[in-house]
Every structure is written in structure tokens, then in C-alpha cells.
Amino acid sequence: MPDWIDQLGDELRAPVDLSSLATARIMAAVRADAARRRRRARTWQALAVAAVVVLAIGIAVYARQADGTAVRFALPVPAAHEVVIVGDFNHWDTHATPLRRMTNGTWQTTVRLKPGAHVYSFVVDGTRWVPDPAAPLAPGTDFGAPNSLVTVAPGTT
């Protein structure tokens, strides 16, 4: 092996005497890099938490829709062509919850309701508001046609 390579190796192996200013600069750069890595890790952690929260909210919303007690409603109006049920549980949407006609002429549907009191009414053939004959009337008639009242107990899914 040529001598100059040995000399180069010795030179490289020899301890380098850095000035205190240079040492401080190098250490500052190392610390800054570590801080940058920590910040990046925190950002990823925050994003992971956010993703988990979004997922949890989605699951909660889905569970809220799927949760509740299944309550069956029925109205015996064999001559009707269409019966829907409207109430606070479907925001009084006259298209949201149609009833199905059974063979005996009764119209029937099952709705999942959260625990508490609910007011509702049937709408027959799009124009006739009919309270449930098998349920009590809700107190007060704000808009003419009376509503029916049902109380749903918790934990009875």
C-alpha cells in the first residue's frame, strides 16, 4: 500500500480540535433537527387523533341512526291508497316514512326511536291528518290537527 494512503488515514484518524464556537454551532444544528423531528411527530400524532375523532363521530352518527327502540305503528284504514307517519323523529317529513299495507287492510311500519317522548301523526292519502287511535293525544294543538304521543323507554332495543 502506498505511503500516502497511510498518511491520509493517520490524518483522518487524528482528533480534530474544534473551536468552542464551532462546537456550539454544530450542537445547535443537532438540537434544531431534533426539535424539527419532535414537531413533525406531534403533527402526525395530532392528525392521527383527528382521524380517530372523525371516525368516532361517524360511528356515533351511524349508531345514533341505527340505535333506539323499534316501535311498531299501525293504522286500520283499508280504503286508503297511501299512509305515512310524520313526527319529530323524521322532522315532519311527509315522504320519509310510508306505511306498508298488510293483507288485512292495516297499514303498518316500524320506526326506531330514541328514548323519550315523541309526537306524531298519520297522514292518509296525502291530505288527511289522523291521530293514532291507540295512543293518547299530545297536549296542545298548535296547528289544528292533533298529534299522538308515545313514550319510549331506554335500553329496550
Partner: protein, 216 residues
């Protein structure tokens, strides 16, 4: 991790705002601009007062579905907002949206405000939605408001769970009321199918209502 809290808070705020925006859009699509403006003002003032707006929006939607006049809808929604505030006062100054809705129905049925306060005191660590709903339903089924209050308070004081309280209306309603609704009388097991031209009424599917065991 100090950012995580801020991110979660931000998401919650955005979710709430999106929900409020969706509700606002529902009303905007249904009412003419002057009516919408009046309803919006009622909702804003309710929101500022810390009252839930969902019952108010539902009431407006009910009026719209029933083709009530705009004036009538605004009047009823405004009145409901005032009733919700009264209910909150009766409940000790706080309550969830469900509690306030149930309490408002109870007060409207004739239940005394003192009953609401007593229920809150008896169940200060629990929701009072079901007891309030039960009190209102008892009155709707023909029980006198003072009797309804007494029964609900008695069960609440005895620590009866909500599921037991909820069976009270059908077991306590006056026999004439019950027998007119269900041919089986007060000891009935409500039918789940139509029989003899009578509707089965709302029945928890696959779980016919049972009589509540009477407490001493």
C-alpha cells in the same frame, strides 16, 4: 400532543356549525324570506339564551307540514321558545334538549312546575326526560295532573329505573281509558296486530308491553 386538543375542539365546533347550518337550510328552503327572517331571529335569540333550537325547528317544520299560516308558525315557535325557557327555570336552570322538550310537554299537560323541580332534586345525577314524558302521557291518558305528579315522584323517590317508569302510563291509566284503547283492560298485554278493527297502536316491536310491578 398540545395540538390534539385544539384539533378535537375545532372538529367539534365545525360539526356543530355544520349541523346548525343544515337546520337553517331546511327552514330557508321551506319558508318565504320574511317568515324565514322572523324564525331565524327566534332561533338566534334562543341560541343566545342557551336554549336548544332543534325543538323550535321541528315545531316550524310541523307547522309547514300542516300548511299552517306563516304568522301562526312564527307565533307558535316564539311561544315554544318562551316555554322552553320556563321549563329550564323550573328544572333548576339547566337541562338537555330532551329534558326541556319533555318538561315543556309536561307543563303544557298541566303538571306543576314544582313537580319538575322535585324531579330534578330527586334525580340530580340522572336525566329526567323519561319521568317528565311519563307524567305528560299519564295526563294525556286521563290521569289528573296532581295524581300523575304524585305517582311519578313516588317512583322516582323509590329509585325506579326509567324502563320501569315508562311502563307506568299503561298500567296506571284509568280503566275506562285503557279499556277503550285496548279491549283487554288494565291488565292487558297490548296486541301487536290489529284485531276487530282496532289499531294496535305504537308497540315496541317484538316486545309487547308488560304491566309494571306496583311498588308499595
Amino acid at each position: 400532543m398540545k395540538y390534539a386538543g385544539a384539533v378535537v375542539l375545532g372538529l367539534v365546533v365545525v360539526t356543530v356549525r355544520l349541523d346548525a347550518q343544515a337546520n337553517d337550510d331546511r327552514l330557508r328552503g321551506l319558508f318565504d324570506p320574511p317568515t324565514y327572517a322572523q324564525l331565524h331571529a327566534v332561533l338566534d335569540s334562543a341560541r343566545t339564551a342557551g336554549l336548544p333550537t332543534e325543538p323550535l325547528i321541528d315545531k316550524a317544520l310541523e307547522g309547514s307540514a300542516k300548511h299552517a299560516s306563516s304568522d301562526r308558525i312564527v307565533t307558535v315557535v316564539r311561544d315554544l321558545s318562551a316555554r322552553l325557557a320556563d321549563t329550564r327555570t323550573a328544572l333548576g336552570g339547566y337541562g338537555t334538549a330532551d329534558e326541556l322538550s319533555a318538561g315543556t310537554a309536561a307543563l303544557r299537560a298541566g303538571i306543576a312546575p314544582a313537580t319538575l323541580a322535585d324531579l330534578r332534586r330527586l334525580r340530580h345525577n340522572e336525566q329526567v326526560t323519561i319521568p317528565l314524558a311519563v307524567a305528560a302521557e299519564l295526563v294525556a291518558r286521563g290521569v289528573r295532573p296532581d295524581s300523575a305528579s304524585a305517582q311519578v315522584l313516588r317512583l322516582a323517590a323509590a329509585g325506579a329505573p326509567d324502563v320501569e317508569l315508562a311502563t307506568l302510563p299503561r298500567s296506571l291509566a284509568s280503566p275506562s281509558v285503557v279499556s277503550s284503547l285496548y279491549p283487554g283492560g288494565p291488565g292487558f298485554s297490548a296486541p301487536t296486530a290489529v284485531d276487530g278493527g282496532k289499531s294496535s297502536g305504537p308497540v315496541e316491536a317484538g316486545r309487547p308491553p308488560k304491566r309494571s310491578p306496583q311498588r308499595p
